[in-house]
């Protein structure tokens, strides 16, 4: 086994920012807005770095797809302990239609090229909330998947994954190579300390084009319109149950 782990990191609008829809309803305002690494991606990076510190794997490679700015996200991963980065260059225009399917194709191609033993991703990104990339990547590679992981244990050629599911916790054992997606309680990501930020400057980020990986970026999906959720209307207080029933009948709900 190569002992190499690929970690996908996405640059998203910072979770503390108030999102505003563009006046033309084509999307949300991103210009001049604070961006950071997707919180679930931070958890994924942390898990990979911890595995390396325990000497269970040899190398952590951070990958991000997008325009020039995503390099800052890769460098944050490097400062957290990733060994090197790969920037898959996607123009700003193409980035608008880049979705889980395209990213999974890229990750699958990279995993084969880098002979990765594991791919660790965040379970979903806080902008799209798709929760698809991990699953699609595993399907494209025909690899097993351990999604919504809250605990991961590497054992020889297997991974034991404790998954958070609606009914509680499910433990599965899958063979490597595999795809894992990180859920909230998997770990608490470390801060990039100043000495590590300095060390990260010496780490390399390679540039790759999707075409080099044989991936077509064309998307079959088209965003027609983006709207802010409707303003929450004030409610009405009623005095009695009879009143409530009358109001519900009036509104046509019963």
């Amino acid at each position: 086994m190569s002992g190499r782990v690929l970690v996908g990191v996405k640059r998203v609008i910072d979770y503390a920012v108030k999102i505003r829809v563009k006046p033309d309803h084509s999307g949300v305002v991103t210009e001049g807005v604070k961006h950071s690494m997707n919180p679930f991606c931070e958890i994924a990076v942390e898990e990979a770095v911890k595995m390396k510190e325990k000497k269970l794997i040899k190398e952590v490679v951070a990958v991000s797809c997008g325009p020039q700015q995503v390099q800052e996200t890769i460098r944050t991963a490097l400062a957290m302990g990733a060994d090197r980065g790969i920037h898959v260059e996607v123009s700003a225009k193409e980035y608008e239609s880049l979705g889980p399917l395209q990213v999974s194709k890229i990750l699958a191609a990279l995993a084969k090229k880098e002979e990765a033993q594991l791919i660790i991703l965040g379970k979903q990104a806080i902008d799209g909330d798709c929760n698809q990339t991990g699953q699609m990547t595993a399907a494209l590679l025909d690899w097993p998947q351990g999604t919504f992981a809250s605990e991961v244990t590497l054992e020889g050629g297997h991974v034991k994954v404790v998954r958070e599911i609606d009914g509680g916790l499910e433990t599965i054992k899958i063979n490597t190579p595999a795809v894992l997606t990180a859920d909230l309680r998997l770990n608490t990501p470390r801060y990039a300390t100043l000495p590590n930020i300095m060390k990260a400057k010496k780490k390399k980020i390679a540039n790759v084009k999707p075409a080099d990986l044989g991936v077509e970026l064309a998307s079959k999906l088209q965003v027609l319109r983006v709207d802010a959720p409707p303003q929450r209307e004030a409610g009405v207080k009623v005095e009695s149950v009879a009143d409530l029933v009358a109001k519900l009948k009036e509104a046509g709900t019963i």
Partner: protein, 417 residues
């Protein structure tokens, strides 16, 4: 985007989810660091430090001010040590992070944005104490004292002012008499930041009282040295939680090898240190001004009067503009002077000018901040009062505004001698 909210529902049976814990500072006002001229590394530094502070300091800022104490101080010092903040300008070979003054400024600015009091204590440790050791300590002293000051196991301080010698610090009365291999110190120091907690202190004393400023020497004092004690913690208007006290020296024996820099040349050590101290501490008022904006601008867009958000009224728009432009002008001045210092170009006029300008503007901006919140600005449930009380210190400490004006005026006089 809405997943975060549903996450908190999912996580309700467990302790507060990591994401929510990380984000409670509430200040997501983006800074235009491109206009500020910061490099990508410096921007990354700011982001990293903000995250650290949001978890380790922000939740305690109000309590620290109310109680005039930081219960978790020693833990926080070690956390800062791990982050590489305590020896930020110290060379890597002594365990420092080897960064420059602009980086130090960014850290103090962000910390001051969260808690000006703790940022001041941090500044006293990392610049007044650690940086002086780096610049003037000999190998033996650096090897002995740097490690624990950089890891946060030890807290550092610096003492020059006395109960009767503030602006006229050179008239200090603390005596240091040579007795064999020792110097015996007698006297008091006053208004000493970190005094109650410090393990290592740089103390200035008169080794040759007759020679006035040519008879001052700097000493490294350790907590526990017989004859050295601290008196009660001072009850201050602001910077509450940045513990300050009087130091008492009664026949305190200090070994000769603890002299920092040359004998009787302490004034040089002190004055050159003051330029950098002023530069770096000027980041304090910048952080306070940013905090004022962080709180007042969102408030102006939530509070309603006469049927609209008050931030849309012209007088309030004017206030936002005034606060913002004052802060921006101060920040550009500070960053530029810091950059020059990083290139080895130190201008006493500009170091004094920067803290003079930033401090006075911070007081004004803090007053505006209270005004923006109106009645709510006057209640201590909101931090606007704390910002004003904290800002005022910077017109006094590290040389009063009056002294700073003298320095600049005299520098001009000197050009025309």
């Amino acid at each position: 985007m809405f997943a975060l909210r549903s996450l908190s529902r999912l996580g309700s049976r467990l302790s507060v989810p990591a994401l929510a814990r990380r984000g409670c500072s509430g200040s997501a006002m983006a800074l235009d660091d491109v206009v500020n001229g910061l490099t990508e590394d410096q921007i990354q530094l700011r982001n990293s430090v903000r995250k650290f502070l949001a978890e380790k300091l922000a939740p305690y800022a109000d309590e620290i001010d109310k109680k005039n104490e930081f219960a978790g101080m020693r833990e926080y010092w070690k956390d800062m040590g791990e982050m590489g903040l305590l020896g930020i300008t110290a060379p890597v070979e002594y365990g420092g992070t080897g960064l420059g003054y602009l980086e130090h400024v960014i850290v103090i600015e962000e910390m001051s944005r969260v808690s000006a009091a703790i940022a001041l204590s941090y500044g006293a440790h990392s610049n007044l104490c650690v940086n002086q050791l780096v610049r003037h300590g000999n190998e033996e002293q650096k090897e002995k004292y740097m490690p624990k000051l950089v890891t946060g196991e030890h807290v550092g301080a610096l003492a020059m002012s006395e109960p009767n010698a503030g602006s006229d610090v050179v008239s200090m009365k603390l005596k240091a008499e040579k007795k064999g291999d020792y110097y015996v110190l007698n006297g008091n120091k006053f208004w000493i930041t970190n005094g109650p907690d410090a393990d290592v202190l740089i103390v200035y004393g008169k080794t040759n009282p007759a020679a006035h400023q040519k008879g001052i020497t700097a000493f490294i004092i350790e907590k526990g040295m017989p004859g050295f004690s601290t008196a009660q913690k001072l009850d201050k208007l602001g910077m509450r939680g940045s513990n300050t006290c009087e130091l008492v020296f009664e026949d305190c024996k200090v070994p000769e090898k603890n002299i920092l820099g040359p004998l009787n040349k302490g004034v040089y050590v002190m004055m050159s240190g003051l330029d950098i101290e002023r530069l770096v501490l000027a980041a304090g008022p910048i952080g306070i001004m940013q905090a004022v904006l962080d709180f007042s601008v969102p408030y102006l867009h939530v509070r309603e009067a006469f049927g609209q958000k008050i931030g849309h009224f012209q007088l309030m728009q004017g206030k936002m503009a005034d606060m913002y432009t004052r802060l921006s002008a101060c920040r550009q001045y500070l960053y530029n002077v810091a950059r020059a210092c990083d290139q080895g170009h130190f201008s006493a006029m500009d170091c004094a000018g920067v803290i003079l300008y930033c401090a006075e503007n911070a007081t004004q901006v803090a007053l505006d901040g209270i005004q923006c919140l109106g009645g709510n600005g006057y209640i201590n449930d909101y931090p606007m009062g704390r910002f004003l009380r904290d800002a005022k210190l910077y017109e006094i400490g590290a040389g009063t505004s009056e002294v700073r004006r003298l320095i600049i005026g005299r520098a001009f006089n000197a050009m025309y001698k």
